[in-house]
C-alpha cells in the first residue's frame, strides 16, 4: 500500500513524461556527432562538410527521437498539462538556455574577430578561465535542464561533455594523441546510448500500449472542420 502525498504525486507525474530514456539517447547522439567530427578533424575535409555532418547527426537524431516519442511514448502514458509552477520553471529554463546561446554566440564572434586581427582571444586560455568558459557554454545549460526536468543523470552527461571539451579545446590533446577526442566523445556516447536504450526498453515493458479508448461513451465527435 502506498501513501497519498500530493507533492510526491505531482513530482512523479512530472518525471513520468521525461524519463523514458529518450533524453539519454539524444545526448548519446550529441556525443556521437562530436566523436565523428573529432575523427573528421584529422582529415582534410572542409569545415562546412564537418559542420554539416555534425548537424545531420544531431538534428536527424533529434527528429527520430521526437518521432519515437510521438509514436510510441505518448500513446503509453497519455497527455498531461502541468500546473502553473512547472510551466513557470520551464519558461525560466528557456530564458537560461537562450542566455547560454547568446553567450556562446558572443564568444564565437569574439574569437573569430580576434583571430582575424591577429590577436587571438582564447589562444592561451587555460586553468580557471577555460573552465569558466566551458562551464558557461556547456555545463550550465545541461545542468539547468537537469534541474528543471528533475533528471539528475543529465549532470553526468554535463560533466562528461565538459571534460571532453576541456581535453579537446584547452589541452589540445588531439595534437598529442591522435583521435583522443574521438575516444572521449565516443566513450561518453556509448555510456549515454546504453543507459538510454536500457531505460527505454524498461519503460516500454512497464507501460504497455493502452487499447484505443473512445473519447466519451455514447458520443461520436465530428471531425474538425477544415480551416
Amino acid at each position: 500500500m502506498s501513501t497519498l502525498n500530493l507533492r510526491t504525486l505531482e513530482r512523479k507525474n512530472w518525471r513520468l513524461a521525461s524519463q523514458d530514456g529518450l533524453l539519454d539517447v539524444l545526448f548519446g547522439m550529441i556525443f556521437l556527432a562530436a566523436a565523428v567530427v573529432a575523427v573528421l578533424d584529422q582529415t582534410d575535409l572542409a569545415d562546412a562538410v564537418r559542420i554539416a555532418v555534425m548537424l545531420c547527426i544531431q538534428f536527424g537524431g533529434a527528429g527520430v527521437i521526437l518521432w519515437i516519442r510521438m509514436r510510441f511514448t505518448r500513446p503509453r502514458i497519455g497527455r498531461v498539462r502541468y500546473g502553473a509552477s512547472r510551466v513557470s520553471r520551464v519558461r525560466t529554463l528557456h530564458i537560461v538556455l537562450a542566455l547560454c546561446v547568446v553567450v556562446t554566440v558572443v564568444l564565437v564572434v569574439l574569437t573569430s574577430l580576434s583571430n582575424r586581427i591577429g590577436a587571438p582571444l582564447f589562444e592561451d586560455v587555460t586553468g580557471v578561465g577555460a573552465w569558466l568558459v566551458i562551464t558557461a557554454v556547456v555545463f550550465v545549460p545541461i545542468a539547468a535542464i537537469a534541474y528543471v526536468l528533475e533528471y539528475p543523470r543529465l549532470l553526468l552527461y554535463a560533466a562528461l561533455l565538459s571534460a571532453a571539451e576541456y581535453l579537446h579545446i584547452v589541452l589540445k590533446l588531439p595534437s598529442i594523441v591522435p583521435y583522443s577526442s574521438a575516444y572521449a566523445y565516443g566513450g561518453a556516447s556509448l555510456v549515454a546510448l546504453t543507459i538510454g536504450v536500457v531505460t527505454y526498453v524498461r519503460f516500454v515493458r512497464r507501460y504497455p500500449r493502452q487499447p484505443a479508448v473512445p473519447t466519451e461513451p455514447g458520443i461520436v465527435m465530428e471531425e474538425a472542420p477544415d480551416e
Partner: protein
C-alpha cells in the same frame, strides 16, 4: 450501510463522492496538474477505461471535473480537468480529514483503557 452508520457518517460530513478510493486518486492526480487525458489517468490510477469512465461521469455530474474536447492531429481527444468547484471540494475534503484525525488523542487508546 445501517441507519446508525449513515447517521455517524453524516455527522462528520465527509464528501462521500471524493472519499471513494478510486475517485480520491483521480481527484488527487487532477489536483496536481492542470489537465490530463484518459490514458494518463488510466496509467496513474490503475483503472480500466470502463471504471475510469464511470467514476469520471459521477465527478462530472457533481461538477467536480469537466471534460474538455479538443482535436489532436485532426482526431478528437478529451482532456479532463478539475473545476474550481472540484478544487474547492477537494481542499475542503483535505481539511475535513486532517481535522478529523487531528482531533484524535495523541496517545493510542485501546479498548478497556477507560
Amino acid at each position: 450501510m445501517s441507519r446508525r452508520e449513515k447517521e455517524a457518517a453524516d455527522r462528520i460530513e465527509i464528501d462521500r463522492l471524493i472519499h471513494e478510493p478510486a475517485r480520491l486518486l483521480i481527484m488527487a492526480h487532477l489536483y496536481v496538474v492542470e489537465s490530463a487525458d484518459y490514458v494518463f489517468l488510466m496509467q496513474r490510477v490503475g483503472l480500466t477505461w470502463g471504471n475510469l469512465s464511470s467514476h469520471l461521469t459521477k465527478l462530472d455530474t457533481a461538477g467536480y471535473v469537466e471534460l474538455v474536447k479538443e482535436f489532436v492531429n485532426r482526431k478528437p481527444h478529451t482532456m479532463v480537468r478539475l473545476t474550481a468547484h472540484g478544487r474547492t471540494a477537494f481542499n475542503a475534503y483535505r481539511k475535513q480529514m486532517r481535522s478529523l484525525f487531528d482531533d484524535l488523542p495523541g496517545k493510542e487508546v485501546t479498548a478497556g483503557d477507560d
